[in-house]
């Protein structure tokens, strides 16, 4: 594989650092403090409560430690589902063309035009017991179009390449060619689309959560923001309620963005060949 750029490594380090922070700190900090009433409410940050507490008496540091993985989980799950659906549809659509391609494209193009927030709201409001999985599926359902489009474009450009003709001359069947020869060349695109997919999913998830439509009982980052708004944290000056989740989210998105930029360069190597 070609050299990955510095952005990618920067983003990856940041992402890994965040994960490590969140999972390793559990050993040093009591995360049960996320329960309501563990501390006195509205305590500002101090040596006892590093990030203070919110109106429910939840310890903010504990909340971050518990909430971040929840956001990660939904984001990564949703991103994976979105990529899987999108890439498969893109692969089929691009390679086989014809009616099936037209069909998939019509669906994809129409979904893209609908404001996703509207659908997400409708879906989230109507589901009784929203679980992390169903949330991930809903969000994935609206983010598969971009991977599908990108993968399709790549497959279209690959399928007429000379080496595919040589594959046929070597006796390979169409499906064999698809998996053995087309897929490997899609890896860089799959990687960068994946990161973008996770990114989009997380934003959508946090968006829903901050409207109070997240998973019941999960004090995830978006939900923290929701409650901080509900309880007018800005007005009451409880900055330690909304600042930590915002910082965390910013760092996560920054990491994902850097990785995506870094991978994007790999996905588009220059074709120069002269010495």
């Amino acid at each position: 594989m070609k050299k990955l750029t510095i952005s990618f490594y920067l983003g990856l380090s940041l992402f890994v650092a965040l994960i490590l922070f969140v999972y390793a700190t559990r050993f040093f900090y009591d995360t049960s403090l996320v329960a309501i009433g563990s501390k006195m409410p509205y305590l500002p940050p101090s040596s006892n409560e590093l990030l203070g507490s919110d109106s429910f008496g939840r310890d903010m540091l504990a909340s971050i430690l518990i909430g971040t993985p929840l956001t990660f989980q939904v984001g990564i799950l949703g991103g994976s589902i979105g990529l899987f659906i999108g890439a498969t549809l893109g692969l089929i659509s691009g390679y086989f063309g014809g009616k099936i391609d037209t069909f998939i494209r019509i669906i994809s193009d129409s979904l893209v035009t609908i404001p996703s927030i509207a659908i997400l709201l409708v879906a989230a409001l109507n589901i009784e017991n929203l679980t992390r999985l169903s949330l991930a599926v809903i969000v994935a359902g609206l983010s598969w179009m971009y991977p599908a489009r990108t993968i399709r474009a790549q497959v279209l450009s690959l399928k007429n390449k000379d080496f595919i003709k040589i594959c046929r001359a070597n006796g390979q069947g169409e499906v064999d060619i698809l998996f053995r020869d087309v897929m490997p060349n899609l890896m860089p695109y799959l990687a960068s689309t994946y990161v973008l997919s996770v990114f989009t999913t997380m934003i959508a998830t946090v968006g829903l959560e901050s409207l109070g439509l997240g998973v019941e009982g999960d004090y995830s980052l978006g939900t923290i923001l929701y409650w901080s708004q509900r309880k007018a944290a800005v007005v009451t000056g409880t900055w330690w309620w909304y600042a930590p989740p915002i910082l965390m989210l910013t760092l996560i998105f920054l990491a994902l963005l850097l990785m995506s930029i870094g991978l994007d360069k790999v996905a588009r190597p220059s074709d120069s060949a002269k010495v």
Binding site: K161, A169, N170, G171, D181
Partner: protein
């Protein structure tokens, strides 16, 4: 080694595209009949410039695209109607050598991959040891050293080496017809001789027919027995290579031959200047009219039909309208 035949029956190819509101139609290849069979292996050269239809001819013969009219038959069966087994047989029997030694490879794999695949898919080796041996022998046959070639990625080898590996691949497949589309035009001229002499060897030693497509008549002269000259999709001259090159009949063939650069001051380009004219393509007339030194007004309106000379030498030019007309079957048999 059973015999085979690949034939074009009044095959033509037209590309239609719609850019914006305008529909455009390009007649890449006008109806042509050709019969290539395995009786005596030959090298048939197809010469022409870009836009002549030579690449289209190659891709039709290889089954890469369907013809707009007519059928391409393999052993009497149209390509579009082949059974799975017949299709497999066809793929193995009619093999390509492509122009670009870079894009012919999947950069993801080492070059070994392109040599292992046909042995595996066509069941040509019983086990991996035999496969290894066959591959090493094939590489040596084409003048490459297996140790210095195997295990490398395409980008680690030169264009000439990559093209030779493609020839080694052909040795492994044991086809009956090789369709070589400009196999040396992207290779340094000092290397071309090696590749071309290998192709010639494939004919003489391995009894394989070769269809050699090129824009360079000089190389066609060196290795081919029969020559087909294409101009804007039409066959303008066809017959024995030697007689055509030494005594070309069609004005376009003459021009093609005089454009061959020879490092010899006797035959330099200075003598004639290339005719540079840009006119509208005639719908009904001879396509070469605008560039032709022998053109008369009648040429713009009447498409000349193929006329026959001795030895199945056919020419399509009004200069020879007094010679007997040729039938489509004459063209088919000419090669």
């Amino acid at each position: 080694m059973s015999d085979f035949s690949l034939s074009l029956n009044e095959v033509s190819k037209t590309y239609r595209s719609r850019s914006g509101k305008a529909k455009s139609e390009v007649k890449a290849l006008l109806p042509i009949s050709l019969e290539i069979s395995g009786h005596t292996p030959k090298v048939i050269a197809v010469a022409g410039e870009s836009g002549s239809g030579k690449t289209t001819l190659a891709s039709l013969l290889l089954g890469f695209q369907p013809p707009t009219s007519g059928t391409v038959d393999f052993n009497g069966v149209p390509l579009t109607a082949l059974s799975k087994e017949q299709r497999n047989d066809f793929r193995r029997t009619v093999q390509p050598v492509l122009q670009d030694p870079f894009s012919s490879y999947n950069q993801f794999y080492k070059i070994d991959h392109v040599l292992e695949m046909p042995l595996k898919n066509y069941g040509l080796a019983k086990n991996s040891d035999e496969s290894s041996l066959l591959i090493r022998n094939a590489l040596s046959e084409v003048g490459l050293i297996p140790e210095q070639t195997l295990g490398r990625y395409p980008s680690q080898l030169s264009g000439g080496q990559r093209q030779r590996i493609m020839l080694a691949r052909l040795l492994l497949c044991k086809p009956r017809l090789i369709v070589a589309d400009e196999p040396v035009s992207m290779i340094d001229s000092s290397y071309r001789a090696i590749i071309l002499s290998m192709l010639l060897k494939l004919k003489t030693e391995y009894k394989i027919n070769i269809l050699y497509i090129t824009h360079d008549v000089a190389t066609a002269y060196q290795i081919s027995d029969k020559l087909i000259v294409l101009y804007k999709g039409r066959v303008v001259e066809v017959g024995d290579t030697k007689s055509i090159v030494e005594r070309p009949k069609h004005p376009y063939t003459e021009s093609l031959i005089s454009s061959i650069p020879v490092p010899d001051r006797i035959r330099s380009w200075d003598k004639e200047s290339a005719v540079i004219q840009h006119g509208l393509l005639n719908e009904t007339g001879c396509e070469y009219t605008d560039h032709c030194q022998h053109a008369i007004p009648q040429c713009k309106n009447d498409v000349p039909s193929l006329r026959r000379f001795e030895n199945n030498h056919l020419v399509a030019c009004r200069l020879y309208e007094n010679s007997p007309a040729a039938q489509p079957s004459d063209l088919a048999k000419t090669v």
